[in-house]
Amino acid sequence: MVNLANPILLVVIPLFFTFLIALSGSFLKSGVKYLPVIAFALNIIVSLALIPEVVKNGMVIATTAGFKPPFAIDMAVDKLGLFLSLIASLLGFVASVYNLFYIDEEPQEKFHALFTLLVAGLTWMIITGDIFNLFVAFEVTSIAAFGLVGFHRDKGAIEAGFKYLVMGSIGGSFLLIGIIMLYAATGTLNIVDIAQKTSNLTFQQKLFPFAMIFTGLGIEGALFPLNAWLPDAHPAAPSSVSSILSGIMTTAAIYAIIRLTNTIFDFNQIYFFLMIFALLTLIFGEVSAFFQKDIKRMLAYSTIGQTGLFFFAFSLNTVNGLQGAFMQMVNHSLSKGMLFLVVGGMIMQVGSRNIDDFAGLGRKMKVSSFFLAIGAFSLMGLPPFFGFWSKLKIIFAALQNANAFLVASVVIILLMSVVEGAYFFKLLQVMYFGKQEKDVAVKEASYGMLFSVVVLGTVLLIISFYPAPVINFMHKAAAEIINKNYITLALKLGGL
């Protein structure tokens, strides 16, 4: 029996099912929609099997082709990669269950194949230990996403898909140029191997590749001012896809920036610069979200704001800051992933994305509205939800060695939380107390769709009320990143 605790399975299983969908699409017809569910259920099992291994050894490494890195590609999962891949598998599973009841448009088999590929690519970005492999995963993810964003084929979807295609391709080119520069400078592609050879490079030799890679990943990670595609693409996509795009894609891109900045580009001069980017992203996202009438657009802008928040926490470059960033990543992935799924069900019933048409839904779709409220509260950071703990952690981390700038940043974060609260409460107020003028027959979403929402909501509630294990785990993960354990562990376990 094959050992399940192998990170490569996290990529290979979904790829296997993707090709199986292509193979069986013509005779299984809409039966192919069950294949992604199986794929991500298996992925969850593999992620769970990885937990004891990662806790015991600190890292799990899988080589390919029977050769040792850096000559062959390897997958390396440490604590940070583990919890992100677990979240990716969970969201992938939940969203593919949701798809069973949500996608009725043709061509279904193409949709499910691309959807599986999208989540596979995101997991791939998270677990790879090779920088060119990271680029390949980035390409898989973005090209699958281009097609999915345009899936509805109306004017808005095509425009959004095209805009994303152009910006995503430019981002990919920048990332590739950065990788070429690193290869030119070090002659190797393995992340750990590069990290060992960059120490004798000059500042300039590190700054140029960093700028290129940061731009490339920043487009995918929706950092201001590179995020013009996101507010169009996320609303235009089918809701299950928006849930993945908002829930994991930005997170995965920021993960890649964190990983590369901390292992390869080990310089302190840039964190202040990153912090300014983060704050601008935060302000831009939250303020724009406040003025939206379209609910999915509002959530998309809120994603930008949240990305800014956890990117800010990362740019503090302290253990506590990173811990806050990771906690906020988890909080955002779960709550935003859930919100998009809830909202998708509501839009199906109401037939509109305008917030005003959601009036009175709180009484008609009780379960959906309840979970929407939970997700919104957690994003705002209301106690006792998990978002409260993560925001608290970020603020404490920022005030740890406070100077005037950091105090000002904390004030901005708090202000933006108020803005966030304002638009979410506005939405909830419309839903629970608004009066519906037109009398439309609105039913609760179907049980299958509710199942997905309830699963994510339950996970969110569990970690809200028992946050200690998650917080401790994140603390260890953050300490490993700051102490550069990734490099030492990889060297010890044969990742090089």
């Binding site: 292509a22 082709a65 029977g66 590929l117 898989v140 140029i177």
Partner: protein, 237 residues
């Protein structure tokens, strides 16, 4: 005007940065730590006479699996965007019929294109070229058919079955490696054979043949989708 100036300034900065960076690495100077290893050990370790193939399919075979998925995603994306809501209902518009020379010429040349493409991907581990190149050549043959006979329709179900089978071959060959004592994805478990013969390099030729079929069917699918935008009528939303 202001925009253009700003753009040019940004472009100049990028170009300058690239020039400054790469000036430090003169062309031809040996910097390839990993590349040197491939050159010295590639043939012995993989049994492929074509060193590029040994890198692309063996040492970095997992990247190639990714590239195969990228192409799959691109083809599926095109199929989604060009999908006709009417399903299989595809009416044809009258296009001017291509002349006699084109029609007969393409018929004569089509089998040779198939043969040439197959040669390229079957010999991928021996000579330059491989699955991607061979597959594209075969797809270009299909493009020629579409141009000379605008009414040509390929069997799309057949194409996606080939596509899926080829992809599965790649993944399953890789997975076998996990059941062996070496415990490594894409481990080359077949005997290496004699260098420079067609049956050599273990699983590499099988993978390249699979990729050849996959690329050919994907490109043919893309051509079919795009041709349909021109000649199909009555579909769309």
């Amino acid at each position: 005007m202001v925009r253009k100036v700003v753009y040019s300034i940004f472009l100049a900065i990028i170009v300058l940065a690239l020039a400054m960076f790469f000036a430090a690495y003169p062309f031809g100077k040996n910097k390839m730590t990993v590349g040197e290893y491939y050159l010295n050990h590639g043939v012995a370790q993989t049994g492929a006479a074509n060193i590029v193939t040994s890198v692309v399919l063996d040492y970095r075979g997992f990247d190639t699996l990714g590239e195969v998925s990228v192409l799959f995603a691109a083809a599926a994306g095109v199929a989604i965007l060009f999908f006709l809501a009417g399903g299989t209902k595809r009416e044809q518009e009258d296009l001017t019929k291509p002349n006699f020379v084109v029609r007969v010429g393409s018929r004569i040349i089509f089998p040779f294109i198939l043969l040439f493409g197959s040669y390229i991907f079957i010999h991928g581990h021996l000579t330059p070229g491989g699955g991607f190149q061979g597959g594209s050549i075969i797809a270009s043959g299909f493009l020629l058919l579409y141009l000379s006979y605008p009414g040509t329709r390929t069997n799309r179900d057949g194409l996606s079955i080939i596509e899926g089978l080829a992809g599965l071959t790649f993944v399953v060959l890789g997975l076998i490696g996990l059941f062996l004592p070496q415990y490594s994805f894409l481990y080359n478990f077949l005997p290496k054979g004699t260098l420079n013969t067609i049956v050599s390099a273990g699983i590499l030729p099988i993978i390249y043949i699979a990729i050849g079929f996959k690329v050919a069917s994907e490109f043919a699918g893309i051509v079919d989708d795009m041709m349909c935008q021109v000649i199909c009528r009555g579909g769309g939303k």
